[in-house]
């Protein structure tokens, strides 16, 4: 009898532990099943009841690098050594090598960082732009050894030792990385033309050993290589009884034309009670007038907007050569580009680890304050 009573009591207690909470829960909410069963979502609803419109505010497009004006005929140097090697392979007639004392990296300008798959500057993770920061070592270092050429008709007349005492050009950003001895400018021109290079005097029809440009060069030689080119600046060195006339050459491998790197500043407001990370933005930049793709855009860097806060983000635009030429050829009015750019891309936001990707369409006028000087 006692065992049975105990058994029933325990079973009853077990059942009560389930029944009582259910009854109590319903009683607390006045027998409202929805309020009893469903979680309280008031706090969550208030969390998302914020205005999501006008979260972004777009500023005026601006050129990076603190440039007052932009010259699309500027070039950026990719490598000194590559051009030097090209000279040796194309021109031949190398007597040997001398040390011109310009070993090490030289200041140059790298293409826009990672927009076109370019690695950007070595040793720095921030973008570098044409003429932007001459203190950065952005191009291949120069080994200091300069090939010595001789294009004299009577080759071999010159004998060793090589002119090790050739004076160095100092005070120039660009290294002089080749020397021509016992040759005049016409012989140099012939050598370049024979190798398929183009050869120009800065002043048409004026060939003279005397420097006559601000840089002091007397001639330029070019060789196209798709979007890049080899460019050799030739300077008159002097005359010596042993070396005859000698010339310095500054050879570099460079981008064909410079394009401006511009930024669209955007102010991002976060009305929510949790941080939002602007994780990525990328897209095509189109000419709003005729839909021609003129470049690509990307987010400068990931930015986390704190809860209820604001922050500025930059959308970096890298123009393609063809795209920028389109703007110059079709929309250049005076020194201003009279066109609007349309960003057609996607933006990815992160809330905690939830990624939200959506389309981004924005039209920005090309600011008239930016002058393009050709």
């Amino acid at each position: 009898m006692g065992e049975r009573a105990l058994g029933w009591s325990l079973t009853g207690m077990g059942v009560l532990f389930w029944i009582v909470p259910i009854i109590a829960a319903f009683a607390v909410h006045g027998w409202d099943p929805v309020a009893t069963i469903m979680p309280e979502t008031d706090a969550l609803q208030s969390l998302f009841s914020q205005q999501v419109e006008n979260m972004t505010e777009t500023g005026e497009l601006r050129i990076l690098g603190d440039l007052a004006s932009f010259d699309p005929t500027d070039h950026y140097v990719r490598s000194w050594e590559r051009a030097e090697s090209k000279l040796v392979s194309d021109l031949g007639n190398v007597l040997g090598y001398v040390d011109l004392g310009n070993e090490g990296p030289h200041h140059g300008h790298a293409p826009t960082y990672e927009i076109f798959g370019e690695a950007g500057c070595k040793g720095c993770s921030t973008p570098d732009y044409d003429n932007a920061d001459p203190t950065k070592d952005c191009v291949s270092p120069n080994d200091g050894n300069a090939p010595v050429f001789e294009f004299n008709a009577q080759k071999g007349a010159f004998s060793t030792p090589l002119p090790l005492s050739i004076p160095k050009i100092i005070g120039r950003d660009d290294p002089t990385n080749a020397v021509v001895v016992r040759s005049n400018i016409d012989q140099i021109k012939t050598a370049f033309l024979a190798a398929g290079w183009e050869f120009y005097y800065p002043c048409e029809g004026y060939a003279s050993p005397e420097p006559h440009t601000p840089l002091g060069e007397i001639a330029d030689a070019f060789l196209d290589d798709n979007d890049n080119q080899y460019h050799v600046r030739i300077f008159y060195g002097g005359h010596d009884d042993i070396y005859g006339d000698w010339y310095y050459m500054g050879a570099h491998y460079e981008g064909q034309n410079a394009v401006p790197a511009v930024a669209i500043p955007m102010r991002f407001s976060n009305p929510f009670q949790f941080p939002i990370t602007v994780d990525n933005m990328h897209g095509d930049i189109l000419c709003a007038a005729d839909g021609v793709k003129v470049g690509e855009a990307r987010l400068e860097h990931q930015t986390t907007i704190p809860a209820g806060g604001q922050d500025n983000i930059n959308l970096i635009i890298g123009f393609t050569y063809g795209g920028f030429n389109h703007l110059i050829n079709n929309h250049l009015v005076g020194t201003s580009i009279d066109a609007s750019l349309m960003v057609d891309g996607r933006i990815r936001l992160k809330i905690y680890e939830i990624s939200i990707t959506t389309e981004l369409e924005q039209t920005i006028p090309f600011p008239s304050e930016i002058s393009v000087v050709i």
């Binding site: 909470p21 969550l44 990707t357 959506t358």
Partner: protein
């Protein structure tokens, strides 16, 4: 005396009872589900279910009360289990051990069933709820991680989902196994019921005399001729 007492203890039941009291007191999470990192977080145990969404705690009164009931029940059952496992010679000890021994096991089984059933059910209903959206859940079952994606118009939503069984769950599995063992082991400890055949004692078939004897007494009874008192008329 002490040795006899220790021999009569149901150690498995004692351990199970202590585990149960511990679970009732501490209510550790058995199963964690995280969606989108910490965006949506669920910590589940039969004794406490806490859920936060974007830092906001979400509670259901019914679930909270049920968890509280389960918590009190497991604590009480654990206490009774300890009592039944210590005082094994009492006539009520078996009932107490039986009452508590399978409680955790059922809770473990329910969690496994729940965790196994929920992902397919959610996947089945997600498509219907999010009309117009291309939803891909690929939820893991019980433990694991995957990515939930949903695409609607121009918006793509992607979130990692992670399910983890905690150490507390594995302790609960161990405690459940101990509970089963304790239930079986307890049969060896309880005072055995000796059924004496009525023919042998010239009793009426309906008048069975149940005697409670210890194992030592049982040996004596078996060794000597039956001397049972006639009861009734």
């Amino acid at each position: 005396m002490m040795s006899k007492f220790l021999k009569q203890l149901n150690w498995f039941g004692l351990a199970t009872g202590i585990f149960m009291i511990g679970f009732g007191a501490l209510a550790p999470a058995w199963w964690n589900v995280n969606l989108g990192g910490e965006a949506v977080s669920v910590e589940y145990s039969p004794f406490d279910i806490s859920m936060t969404a974007f830092g906001v705690p979400m509670t259901s009164t019914l679930i909270s009360f049920l968890c509280l009931g389960a918590r009190v029940m497991i604590t009480v059952a654990g206490g009774l289990m300890v009592l039944g496992s210590v005082l094994t010679q009492k006539w009520w000890s078996e009932k107490l051990v039986k009452f508590g021994s399978l409680k955790l096991l059922w809770m473990v089984v329910m969690l496994i069933i729940f965790a196994a059933v929920i992902p397919p059910v959610v996947e089945m209903f997600a498509g219907q709820v999010t009309t117009g959206a291309d939803t891909r859940l690929n939820l893991p079952i019980l433990a694991g991680s995957s990515t939930v994606t949903a695409q609607m118009d121009n918006v793509t939503l992607s979130a990692p989902i992670t399910m983890t069984l905690t150490n507390a769950f594995f302790f609960a599995v161990i405690a459940s196994a101990l509970g089963v063992v304790a239930r079986i082991y307890h049969r060896r400890l309880k005072p055995k019921k000796l059924m004496i055949r009525p023919k042998l004692l010239s009793l009426r078939p309906t008048e069975h005399k149940v005697m409670k004897v210890t194992p030592a007494e049982e040996k004596k009874i078996i060794a000597r001729p039956v001397e049972a008192k006639k009861v009734g008329k």
